[in-house]
């Protein structure tokens, strides 16, 4: 693997509450290589958004990073002061959010929004800024960029807003883009357009992307590698084909099986029993054990160590060999 652009080691983040700190991230490790798309998948409460906000240090006031390292091109972001961090945000790392309309200033025309970022990060203004802004809007597939520049966010559809957001995020030529559920709030036919846009930007511009999603199908469309998150830990990570064809964590297997896919004959879905536990009642041992069909006494007593099951493919499960056997013999396929 080439030198990672971003390397997160043992990241811990906690929310403060009346009863003391509530850990949300409990030792998250991952790397993103140049030009790669890493998917972070998980359900609500898994900590995938908090991971992104921790990297950018945009956490809400009640939350704090309590441990670990966030190395961006070798530099620990947690050691930077506010001014240095402001430079990293935007110039080096950009982020786009689920609700694009909520992330654009409603009082600014698209033109002003883009001019600001082009001035701040690239010292462009006037005609030069306008030319680049038009190029950016055309690049994200907006027809008639000149007229889009004159519009306010409320005059744009959801999909157009997300394209403007992507143009805005790319305006500073960041090394890394973090996209948090970029398609979730959009209509299905528009979701596909945004997925195709991100795929094209990667092919044409070598975009490096951390894609946060609850949707494994979006991962299948775009990602090179996947980290599966559950209750603040990455319980399995590996190349996308390994995750889909040779999952080794029972939770990954459960997520794959509970996806509704087009079944004309109407097959029963394999739901994962129960629900994601409350963060304040983090299960002992393996965090997934209360919902796991393979659970044994050891699972609640001892947290499983991370084991490498294939090149670049790690899993945290005491019984991953048993999962492997079940997957390989097709008993769960």
């Amino acid at each position: 693997m080439t030198e990672p652009i971003l390397e997160v080691r043992g990241l811990r983040t906690a929310f403060s509450s009346h009863d003391g700190p509530v850990p949300v991230l409990d030792g998250v490790d991952f790397q993103v290589a140049d030009g790669e798309i890493l998917g972070l998948v998980g359900e609500s409460g898994s900590g995938k958004t908090i991971t992104a906000l921790s990297v950018l240090q945009l956490l809400p006031a009640a939350a704090q990073v309590t441990g670990g390292e966030i190395l961006f091109r070798g530099e620990n972001l947690l050691e930077l002061d506010r001014k240095q961090m402001n430079r990293v945000r935007g110039a080096d790392i950009s982020m786009i959010f689920q609700n694009p309309r909520g992330s654009l200033n409603p009082l600014y025309r698209v033109e002003k929004t883009l001019e600001q970022v082009l001035w701040t990060h690239r010292r462009l203004r006037g005609g030069a800024a306008r030319t680049v802004a038009i190029e950016l809007l055309a690049d994200v597939g907006l027809p008639d960029p000149r007229s889009v520049l004159r519009r306010y966010p409320h005059e744009l559809s959801g999909g157009m807003c997300q394209r403007v957001m992507i143009a805005y995020a790319l305006a500073s030529n960041p090394r890394l883009l973090i996209a948090d559920e970029p398609t979730t709030a959009l209509d299905v036919t528009v979701q596909l357009q945004i997925i195709e846009l991100l795929g094209r930007l990667r092919r044409e511009h070598g975009l490096t992307l951390v894609l946060i999603t609850h949707n494994l199908s979006v991962v299948a469309e775009l990602c090179d590698r996947v980290g599966v998150m559950y209750l603040g830990r990455i319980v399995e990570q590996g190349p996308v084909l390994d995750i889909f064809d040779a999952p080794r964590h029972p939770y990954t297997v459960g997520l794959l099986g509970s996806r509704p896919t087009v079944h004309v004959e109407g097959d029963e879905l394999r739901a994962i029993p129960g629900q994601v536990p409350d963060l304040r009642n983090r299960p002992s041992g393996c965090v997934f054990h209360p919902r796991c069909p393979l659970v044994r006494p050891v699972c609640s007593e001892r947290a499983p160590a991370r084991e490498t099951v294939a090149e670049g493919h790690d899993v945290e499960c005491h019984f991953w060999r048993k999962v492997a056997g079940l997957v390989e013999t097709g008993r769960v396929a």
Partner: protein
């Protein structure tokens, strides 16, 4: 691809559609029209046609899915069926009795025969009542069971939706999203309705929990012969739930037919685009690339004939020239696509 870890037995497959001899329509919607007046500019007025000549029937024990993107009018149709919205025109008949003309007192009697499950379970449950009270309320309101039986009935409803007696005294916010939606289902089924309108009942839930609710709804339909109008934007979920599918675009049903033929031999470009937009199940899978241009156009002043023309990759001049009517092209399967109808007549169509 579906996987199961414990290797246990698979549960039975989809609920069988009702046998032909006992089919009778529970719901008939004829030429439903709903128009909202909207302001345009300072003095301008326009109308938004949210439902435009929608005609549907649902047979007993059947699930009809209404599919479409935002602005397609699918929720408006659902709300008009329950008279939560007043239809502008058209007829709605529930089990032989007119809903569209019912007076408010008649409507109260009809209401317990048709119920709704909403997208956001927490929003639809009163936060100050225990979930047991919330499920008891419709029982008391409609006198479904004698007063002294209410408690017992609530417990049996809780069992039915997979909740335990320990949940009865909780407040809605003390339950997880999936449990809240189970309460929503129990509350809707309490008055033993003939028809349940399910409005995106799983869209707000996590994937693993979404699967639980889909399985629950399918089991309940099989056991109790329930009739569902299932509103969704997600064709994958629809394929698991529905017997028949109606695809809506800008207030009109553009394709209507049995699930299998709609999904496998779609006869309208919009349906094809919806199917093509289902993300792949596996990284190596490829899908048909039909990308609709732009986004759903404004439902105010849609194009005069086929509403899809500005976005349709297959549009021809004829599409803007003649009215697009819903025409049957296969048994029980209709499309509004003029071009498709012509190719089908000329035997040029190859699914």
């Amino acid at each position: 691809m579906s996987r199961r870890l414990d290797g246990g037995d698979q549960r039975a497959e989809a609920p069988a559609p009702p046998a032909p001899e006992q089919i009778n329509a529970i719901l008939e919607v004829r030429d439903l029209r709903k128009v909202y007046p909207v302001r345009r500019g300072l003095f301008g007025r326009a109308s938004l046609v949210a439902a435009d000549g929608v005609t549907l029937t649902i047979d007993a024990g059947e699930t009809l899915a209404l599919v479409g993107e935002s602005g397609s009018g699918k929720t408006t149709v659902g709300r008009c069926v329950l008279r939560l919205e007043e239809p502008t025109a058209g007829e709605i008949v529930l089990d032989g009795r007119p809903v569209s003309e019912a007076s408010s007192s008649q409507l109260r009697h009809l209401r317990h025969e048709m119920q709704m499950v909403f997208q956001d379970p927490l929003d639809s449950l009163n936060p100050r009542h225990t979930v047991g009270e919330l499920v008891a309320e419709p029982l008391q309101l409609h006198g479904t069971v004698p007063k002294d039986m209410v408690r017992e009935e609530v417990q049996s409803l809780f069992r039915m939706v997979g909740l335990g007696p320990q949940h009865v005294d909780r407040l809605p916010h003390q339950l997880s999203g999936g449990q809240q939606q189970r309460v929503g289902v129990a509350r809707a089924l309490a008055p033993r309705p003939k028809l349940v309108v399910l409005d995106e009942p799983t869209s707000a839930l996590d994937v693993s929990v979404q699967a639980q609710i889909i399985n629950l709804l399918r089991d309940l339909q099989r056991q109790r012969g329930l009739t569902f109008l299932f509103i969704s934007h997600d064709l994958a979920v629809v394929s698991l739930m529905a017997h028949r599918v109606a695809v809506m675009y800008l207030g009109q049903v553009v394709e209507l037919g049995p699930k299998a033929t709609v999904l496998e031999q779609p006869a309208h470009p919009y349906t094809r685009a919806l199917i093509a937009s289902i993300p792949v199940e596996h990284p190596l899978q490829t899908r048909e690339r039909i990308t609709m241009r732009g986004e759903p156009t404004s439902p105010i002043d849609p194009p005069r004939h086929c509403h899809l023309v500005p976005r349709c990759p297959f549009a021809q001049p004829i599409c803007s020239e003649v009215p697009a009517e819903l025409v049957e092209v296969m048994p029980g399967h209709s499309t509004r696509c003029v071009r498709f109808q012509r190719e089908h007549r000329n035997g040029e169509w190859d699914p």
